[in-house]
């Protein structure tokens, strides 16, 4: 009796094991054959947003391939390393792009893209990923409203640091109704990044971004 039970267990385990190997095989093969395509697709999506923030006459490198990675949870809102991309003209930096996180969105973190010219003015801010309420807070998407364009041309001195808030909070930035928390999070993340940029400017521009393939 015990012998038969042992045999059944053994057979059942072998069947399960066989299917586990089959499943792992399938998943591994597909993973390995799509990993490069996925990375390329992600870079392509970022690049498509990035090149819209800087006129192509300003730079002559392939921006997406020139980056350094920095780990600054305090400033950039994430425990993960953030890539900072450099736009170069004849080998000299002209602008940089970063993808910091606004950790305090209404429904979780919001990833933004900030472009800054070498003189410290913003070339543009865009939202990359968010989980905010559709219909209410998605006015932060450039396709839905032009609120996010209000950052273009600003800098840490324009408006002055004590006015880097929504109008509602005594600051200089317009808001639309119904999404204060979302917009507040984005303004805060942008101003934090500008402060970070100000205090680490030398480092960000002098550390030469190697071309990463």
């Amino acid at each position: 009796m015990i012998g038969i039970a042992c045999r059944s267990i053994w057979i059942a385990a072998m069947i399960l094991c066989g299917f586990t190997i089959l499943g792992s095989f399938l998943v591994t093969v597909i993973y390995n054959s799509t990993v490069d395509v996925i990375a390329a697709a992600q870079r392509g999506m970022l690049e498509a947003k990035l090149i819209k923030l800087l006129d192509s006459s300003y730079y002559d490198n392939h921006i997406i391939n020139y980056y350094i990675e920095v780990l600054e949870p305090e400033w950039l809102g994430t425990e993960q390393p953030v890539k900072i991309y450099s736009a170069l003209k004849k080998g000299q930096p002209v602008a940089l792009f970063a993808t910091p996180i606004a950790p305090d969105g209404y429904n979780g973190p919001i990833q933004i893209l900030v472009g800054i010219h070498i003189d410290g003015t913003i070339s543009g801010v865009r939202v990359l990923n968010h989980k905010e309420t559709p219909g209410l807070s998605d006015g932060i998407d450039e396709e839905k409203s032009n609120w996010i364009l209000g950052f273009t041309g600003r800098s840490i001195q324009n408006p002055s640091p004590d006015r880097w808030y929504l109008k509602k909070d005594g600051g200089a930035f317009d808001q639309y109704t119904g999404a204060t928390i979302t917009q507040r999070a984005i303004v805060r993340a942008t101003s934090k990044f500008l402060e970070y940029f100000k205090s680490h400017r030398e480092q960000l521009f002098t550390v030469k971004s190697a071309e990463n393939e």
């Binding site: 057979i11 059942a12 399960l16 299917f19 586990t20 998943v27 996925i38 697709a41 999506m45």
Partner: protein, 217 residues
């Protein structure tokens, strides 16, 4: 058990025991993703693909299965198929993948997949019938998703097929219909409660259609 005709399999999957409207399996992605037609259609197709592949695989492997390890094997197979679909989608439809996000991996826990594996694919001998059953169930789910998606999109934003380019490439952009000029939107339809109300209305419509057709027959 008598042989089921393909016609019956199709009618069952699409209408009589529609996953969304009758058996109510897989409501989580159904309600969460159905805020416009394109999202609905994308998730519907992904689910259909998973159902097809998992049903066919399980029908093929049926003789190797033993009752005691049946469910673990289903779970392994379904999870592998879903992971495959997820990776392929991430690679080739990155825009849509970004929107559907977590709901693709969650197809693993969509009860309708394991339900079909358990009651159909693992019981009947015919591989082809299992494949047809997978497609029928998937299309029934897609049909329900797209209906709710269309309802919520029209009421919520006054458009149909917005972001069609995510599914069909740049050529899809012209498919977007703006039904009302200057429509201000109806937030209730876009929010999750709109999904519940929409689903409730569809179920009511389906039931009343069924009642009427019975009366006439």
């Amino acid at each position: 058990m008598s042989k089921t005709s393909y016609q019956t399999i199709l009618r069952d999957g699409l209408w009589t025991r529609n996953t969304g409207l009758v058996t109510m399996l897989g409501l989580c992605p159904l309600l969460a993703v159905s805020n416009n037609v394109v999202n609905s259609f994308g998730l519907g197709l992904a689910t259909t693909l998973v159902l097809l592949v998992s049903n066919v695989t399980i029908a093929l492997m049926r003789d190797l299965l033993r009752p005691e390890v049946r469910i673990p094997v289903f779970v392994i197979l379904i999870a592998s198929v879903v992971t495959t679909v997820e990776l392929v989608m991430h690679a080739f439809l990155p825009g849509l993948y970004t929107i559907l996000g977590i709901f693709i991996p969650l197809i693993v826990t969509n009860c309708c997949v394991i339900w079909r594996a358990e009651v159909f694919a693992s019981r009947r001998c015919n591989v082809l019938a299992s494949g047809v059953d997978g497609i029928a169930t998937g299309l029934g789910f897609t049909f329900c998703l797209v209906l709710i998606g269309a309802l919520r999109e029209v009421l919520g934003q006054g458009t149909l097929l917005s972001h069609a380019e995510l599914l069909f490439g740049d050529a899809g952009k012209f498919l977007t219909l703006h039904l009302f000029e200057g429509y201000r939107g109806f937030i209730l339809a876009v929010l999750p409660c709109g999904a519940f109300i929409g689903l409730g209305c569809l179920i009511a419509i389906k039931n009343s259609l069924d009642t009427h057709s019975e009366r006439w027959m």
